[in-house]
């Protein structure tokens, strides 16, 4: 029962709701994708079914005048009008789908003018996430200081400023209802900052600062996870961090 339920329903990433909300509700890009997929899929299936029912070969059918003969290039079949029609129709459809993808793209990418309530430096490494100050900043020997850098951050335990060996779980606490920017960089190889609940993903690249953001007001308060989505080695699947969204008085 619940397996069947799982196969039919799924929890969509939260960010998709915003695509629907600001960009036309039911007409949002995700919904349209879904509906058009269904329509095209049904068209193919129904047409094929129709062919199989009405154009089956029966024993004793006479050969059509077009029938294939070995060693003879057959008559060309075709109908330019129909062929042009099914060139133009998909062209219009995909152009439309590209067009309606632009709005959400602005929403996700256009952060230049956006005022961030909090900006958090995120450092990824094999295989941990650390938040706040880049790791191994020797000026901050006192663990208490970690928490005071950003108001709400709890750091990974970096004893003696060594590279953590055994997959420590990083954690981060952010206030409810804030626009949070993450500035991402990597210590070693490629990683990807993946917040599956929300549906954002941004590669974390060594020697390059990338940026992603979220609006914690779109969530309920509570605990969420951050996973690594870009393959980074042995403990790739264990590279996670907790993110807490808490109401601040």
């Amino acid at each position: 029962m619940s397996l069947l339920h799982d196969l039919i329903f799924f929890e969509n990433p939260t960010i998709w709701n915003d695509f629907g909300g600001d960009y036309g509700g039911f007409g949002g890009v995700v919904w349209q994708m879904f509906i058009w997929s269904l329509l095209v899929g049904l068209l193919v299936a129904v047409w094929m079914g129709y062919n199989l029912i009405y154009f089956r070969h029966a024993d004793g059918d006479p050969d059509h005048k077009d029938a294939l003969k070995v060693g003879v290039f057959p008559h060309e079949r075709g109908n330019p009008k129909i062929e042009i029609a099914w060139t133009i129709a998909p062209l219009i459809l995909v152009s439309w789908l590209t067009l309606i993808s632009l709005g959400p793209l602005d929403y996700m990418w256009d952060v230049d003018g956006q005022e961030a309530d909090i900006t958090i430096e995120v450092t990824a490494g094999q295989w941990f996430w650390s938040f706040g100050t880049p790791i191994c900043n020797e000026e901050k020997e006192d663990p208490e200081e970690w928490c005071s850098t950003g108001i709400y951050q709890k750091p990974v335990n970096f004893d003696e400023c060594e590279k953590p060996t055994a997959n420590p779980r990083g954690c981060l606490e952010i206030p409810y209802g804030a626009v949070v920017h993450f500035r991402l960089t990597s210590n070693d190889v490629l990683h990807a900052f993946n917040f599956p609940e929300l549906g954002i993903k941004q590669d974390v690249v060594p020697n390059l600062e990338t940026l992603t953001w979220l609006d914690s007001g779109k969530f309920e308060t509570g605990q969420y996870s951050i996973w690594c989505a870009e393959y980074c080695g042995t403990e790739h699947s264990l590279m996670d961090a907790d993110i807490f969204i808490t109401e601040v008085a």
């Binding site: 899929g41 003969k69 699947s237």
Partner: protein
Amino acid sequence: MNRKSLKILSLGFIMSILLAISAFPTGDSIPTGITDDNLVKNGCTCHTDGPMSSDVVITLSDLPEKYNVSQVYTLTLNISGGPDALADGNQGGFFIQSNYGTLESIDNNTWMPEGETHLTHNEEGNNYREWSFNWIAPESDSKVVKFTVYGNSVNGADGNAGDYWNKGEFSSAGVNAKIAEDHGELSMPQKLIYAFTVLVVTLSVVVVGNRMVVNDQSFEDVIKSYWKCVYPWLTTTDHKYIGTLYICTGFGFFFVGGILGLLIRWQLFEPRIDGDFLTYEEYNSTFTMHGTTMIFMAAMPIIFGFANYLIPLQIGARDLAFPRLNALSYWLLPTGGFVVYMGYFTGGAGDVGWTGYTPYATGDSSTTPGTDFWVAGQIMLGASSTLTAINFLTTMLRMRAPGVTMMRMPLFAWSIFVTVFLLLLSIPVFTVALILLMADRTFGTLYFDVAAGGDPILWQHLFWYFGHPEVYIVILPAFGVLSEIISTFSRRPIFGYTSMVYAMATIGIISFIVYGHHMFTTGADPLFRFIVMLTTMLVAVPTGIKIFNWLATMTGGSIVLKTPMIFALGTVITFTIGGITGIILASIPVDVALHDGYFVVAHFHYVLVGGTIFAFLGGVYYWYPKMTGKIMNEKLGLIHFALSFIFFNAAFYPMHNVGIEGMPRRYATYDAQFTELNEFITIAAFIFGFAQLIFVYNVIYSYKNGEDAGNNPWDGWSLEWATASPPPHNSFTEIPTLKLAEEED
């Protein structure tokens, strides 16, 4: 070419290779001065960035062979060799750790950092190369204690230049310890490979022995009679033999890759801790080898096997333009494949993913020899494909029979024509990228080294510039097969032949400008990402034309539902699903959530298995009569199709759901919320895998018991049906002329 010019040519080759080697930008150290991570991980945080040196000798004296419970031993550690020490100041340092018992400092030269269990030197201690300390033996007498020691022999000068370090291991056992002989634990895939090897050797001994006894032959006679069978296959340049070899090798690797796929599925049956079934490292090797095998050693060889066999027949040529080059292309395949798999015998196959992203692939963290073999083998496979591309282009442009103009080639021939163009333009880029990667890994060059200023995204550009045309290289021939089968079994010419050809050519051209859609989350230029979103969407147009043309071919036709046709129709359904999810993924805002997740895995398995493999399984049923003269068993074929189609969808459809809910790909373990669906997927995948055994059985069974096919069992039109089944040695007794239906009327 005469001997002299050959000599000059070889000299030229050697000169250019030497020149190329001298041009490698090499460096001993990384300019930014970052120390080697590996050393830190090994526990040697000492002041050095060089490699381990065997000049440094480490001894640990007074360590008993058998220890007494809880007794205190005073051990002395000595390092010798390395640089001559300056008279005053620093001479060396050490690090020692034991897995049982307790280490204890007894003087001012050594200390144990707080919270740690290892001993190391302190400021005073680094004026010596010999240190003493206590070791308290464990309370149990059944332990085998291992000591891991690092010693650094330094010259006392500022900086670490001229310092050398080494690692040593020592052990002591309790009186009741069971000392296992140190074979080293075999990894799961290694066990499998050894098991297979044992099985094959045993089987061959039994078979040979059986023949010796039953036929009363000597060992030499039996081997000679086998040699007589094998020899023609080893030395052939005949396109039909080579085609058959390609197809068999391809399906052989498909079997191996399939087993790897099932290992992946079993690992993901439930969330597993490291080593529960496969260790995470083995899992990473497994999916790397699965991807590499399926794309380069299964899909492409199957395609080029069919191309080898059929293209000369379809265009009315006796053979390919360069038969010996063709043989070379083939033999590079099993060789390259073997090299890629060598990793399993050297402590773990490559674990960089089939995409081999740098900087992970350049680093020490990836399984070292395995990844080197992965790179080397891939270069061979790249060379093989490049040669094949040249061979086919020449053949198809120069050797068509009278009447076979370009616009009268069968659509399978057209699909191969477009494919080899793509291959020729894309695979050298990958090969060059691999050579750069190999140089980085083995010669110490810095092309992809981020710390030295290399571009962290460069590899992705090079890889996907090849990688995206590559997926069309494997899907276009499938389109060709579908066009042939659907037209033949509808007993009508294909609808819109010309638009089919233009559609394939368009897909080929667009394929070079869409690759950026693999990099939507990298942080590449937004304009670049926007443009590739648009071009990716455009691929749907020619692909849609093809699907509609197939359906229109059936409309008004006279459809005969035999196994090849049923496979073709199944493929149209599964491929359509794969195509649609491709469009969904092309939309950046949606892709950002789905990228690198199971939705993507579902998508490309729908395209590659549901498209390429299903189409070519249909192709086997369709052309098997031509190749062997026997028709494959219809009933077994239908059962094979039904099981494959149902369980393929059962295995891969739920991956869409898992992906939307957020499960990332390449995860060796996962969040418990996905367990139920993953169990379902795993069970379906195993049934899908076992269903393929029916196909293997059918191929063997029909070879012995199949009905005679005759020249043209399906009433096809193209020239391969005009010759005998199987075709005679030179393919045609007389070069045929393709007639035109209009002239016939």
